[in-house]
Symmetry: C2
Subunit: 209 residues, 2 copies
Amino acid sequence: MKINYPDGRAFNTPPSKKSPVNTSAKKKMIFGDRGMTLEEEINESNKYYRSHDIAVIYKKPTPIQIVKVDYPKRSRAVIKEAYFAQASTTDYNGIYNGYYIDFEAKETTHKNTFPLKNFHQHQIDHLRACQKQGGICFVIIKYVSLKRYFIMPVDNLFEYWNGQRNNGPKSIQLKQIIDCSVEVSPDYNPTLPYIKAVQSLIESGREKK
Amino acid sequence: MKINYPDGRAFNTPPSKKSPVNTSAKKKMIFGDRGMTLEEEINESNKYYRSHDIAVIYKKPTPIQIVKVDYPKRSRAVIKEAYFAQASTTDYNGIYNGYYIDFEAKETTHKNTFPLKNFHQHQIDHLRACQKQGGICFVIIKYVSLKRYFIMPVDNLFEYWNGQRNNGPKSIQLKQIIDCSVEVSPDYNPTLPYIKAVQSLIESGREKK
């Protein structure tokens, strides 16, 4: 039985069989191939950034619409009926060195394209609103089979999104993503050093403050 | 039967009996007494700020630990067993005019004091970490029976919090809150114009950027 979140992510995805034996020799060999989902890689990295006072960024909890709660005596409340709700925002936000940071993270199994249907209009609207307020907004795209990670500024995403709405291509080509993004290589600590890429976006002025 | 969130807020609190008849004449008379909880007042205000491009601030969803999900055929997933989880952060964050904003909101029925047990260590730690990164951090305190609202900078909160941990007073006196905070009066649109107070904190340099 397959259980999915409303956005298509599998619920309680079991760790990949590739998960390595936990020895440091093995660990060194398999950077970026430890069977972690992009979400896990970002959460791990955020933990590192917080504990090193580099940035305070969290994934927001999945919004749940609660219908029925039981309150058994002498134990804590149990939610007995609830549903996954549509988020109004992106999944991640926080602060880095005075900058408001807001992003969405998506992984794809495609090799040469990235289908725009991975995004929803409300995410685009939210990213636009945050950028207008001076936030640093981007998306993190992971090509699972290529093991490549890209930090793409939202201005480029908006361009492709608008194109698609005007009968343009429904996907972004990998080549286009390479051209407009900063690539990040997975590492040991943090797992995915994406803040380095964010800093380079800020310095290159491709993100305004 | 009383059902509470882990932080003591009542679950699905019914609107107060004071809720007015919905006529605009009545509405004008009862600013700040429309039977709204502080959370509802802030959510309404945030909606106003977003729709007027003033700020993009949201309440984070309550974190839920999901244990069991059913996936009936031809209908959406139903969560059958779940529990309220402890949040790692404060309830609200977002961006206002280039500033990262982070705050916690608390209401009290006390008239002259505000018990510090309304806060948790993880909220204090989170506010400290965000301030260190250059965020604008504060708490909104509502005295329900006095119908008064205060925006208190976190530096003052930290002072009282540390005092309490060193065997100082377990509560902050209303007089002390008046002295260190910016008071906000409820209004019609937005319901609670707290961004005005935040702007005055920024201008007075009581919050660093």
